[in-house]
């Protein structure tokens, strides 16, 4: 459908010549903006509904009461993937989980996956790379959260929480259940307000990213990057992870650019490692975590996540 709209617009109405570079770039830009814009609206609305009904307190109680031989890390990580990521809720959830008696390692599994597999990244992946790569990305992200959280749980890191957090944990936790019995209709206004603000926040980056992607698509020859960052270059994965760290604010603009990079010869594993690092290792998040963790724990956390992303990048380059 979007292909048809873009074709009609560019080749019929504007009567442009399909063999010219800038026409190809324009066509790509219109097609991708339409497709991604549509997907973003659909997915953020859907996730808004899921989020509105999602019983976080029940999940917390469930994770508190179950001893599942490590499987609780996978559950916490999966939970992190489906909750919409917003730094404003991740810290209260982090403290809430710990206070509820969930072990630090399990809580970290949640915290790692929450930004790594978030609805915006997933929808962009879906629009750009298709369903197969998206599923692989999501599963890999959940596994990273589960494995890193499990590994960190063995290190006894509780002492590296900030003092005020430790004080909070000493308090006896009690909270009466707060029920939300509103009808779907009553929930619509706040789901809408959330969706609109997310849309407004990310679309300028998406459009910008698609524009850059379109230019590269039109003007850079296929396979151009292969010689620099191909599978033969073993440093490409760690370098792209490092490059990704300062790019967080523009995550939604980076993915469309990555698509063009992949088309021009960058291996998919390197690209995925870069993507994961963009959303999973960000300076704003590090500063936020610093509020609840001592520097050493923040460093261990980021180090462990970074190393797993690099390993995943190599694995994907090998198998995909």
């Amino acid at each position: 459908m979007f292909q048809l709209i873009a074709d009609t617009l560019v080749y019929d109405w504007m009567a442009l010549n399909a063999s010219e570079h800038w026409v190809e770039a324009l066509h790509f830009f219109i097609y991708d903006s339409l497709k991604i814009g549509f997907l973003v609206i659909f997915v953020i609305s859907f996730m808004g509904v899921v989020n509105s009904y999602f019983p976080v307190d029940k999940v917390r109680d469930f994770l508190t009461n179950k001893k599942l031989y490590g499987l609780e890390h996978l559950l916490a990580s999966g939970f992190g993937a489906i909750t919409p990521f917003c730094s404003c809720s991740s810290i209260p959830l982090f403290i809430g989980f710990l206070k509820g008696g969930i072990p630090l390692g399990v809580t970290l599994s949640f915290l790692i996956t929450s930004p790594l597999v978030n609805e915006v990244a997933v929808v962009l992946f879906l629009g750009i790379f298709g369903i197969k790569i998206t599923i692989i990305y999501a599963v890999a992200g959940i596994l990273v959260g589960a494995v890193v959280g499990f590994a960190l749980s063995k290190l006894g890191l509780e002492e590296h929480l900030e003092e005020w957090v430790k004080d909070q944990l000493k308090e006896k936790f009690r909270q009466a259940a707060i029920k939300d019995s509103r009808s779907f209709k009553q929930r619509i206004p706040e789901i809408k307000a959330d969706a609109i603000s997310t849309f407004k926040r990310i679309m300028p980056y998406v459009i910008g990213g698609v524009a850059i992607g379109g230019l590269m698509h039109g003007f850079i020859p296929a396979g151009y990057f292969e010689q620099y960052m191909g599978k033969g270059n073993y440093f490409a994965v760690p370098i792209s992870v490092l490059l990704a760290i300062p790019m967080y604010s523009s995550a939604s603009g980076v993915i469309p650019v990555i698509q063009s990079l992949v088309a021009k010869g960058i291996p998919i594993g390197t690209a995925m490692a870069f993507m994961m690092a963009v959303v999973g290792l960000s300076l704003p998040e590090a500063l936020l975590l610093k509020r609840v963790m001592k520097l050493k724990l923040v460093a261990i956390y980021f180090g462990a996540v970074g190393i797993s992303i690099v390993v995943l990048g190599y694995v994907f380059n090998f198998i995909l």
């Binding site: 976080v56 209260p92 909070q168 707060i178 206004p189 706040e190 959330d194």
Partner: protein, 76 residues
């Protein structure tokens, strides 16, 4: 009475604050309405999701924008 609206300043937090003020006007009550935006402070009240509502240091609701009638029932 002190009413605290917990949240990072998103649209829904300001909607909740407006509803609180409307409820107070309709009940002709006086109260200090305070916005709490600091994550650490939000966490102290055990709010798992924002926006959340705290009345006299007690968490009464989280993760939703309460309508005026519901807020009135909290205040009564």
């Amino acid at each position: 009475m002190v009413i605290k609206v917990l949240g990072s300043g998103c649209k829904n937090c300001s909607n909740l604050e407006e509803n609180v003020k409307k409820a107070l006007t309709e009940l002709s009550m006086q109260a200090d309405v305070v916005k709490v935006t600091d994550f650490a402070d939000i966490a102290r009240y055990n709010a798992l999701k924002t926006p959340a509502l705290v009345i006299d240091e007690k968490l009464v609701s989280f993760g939703k924008v309460n309508d005026v009638n519901e807020i009135k029932s909290f205040l009564a």
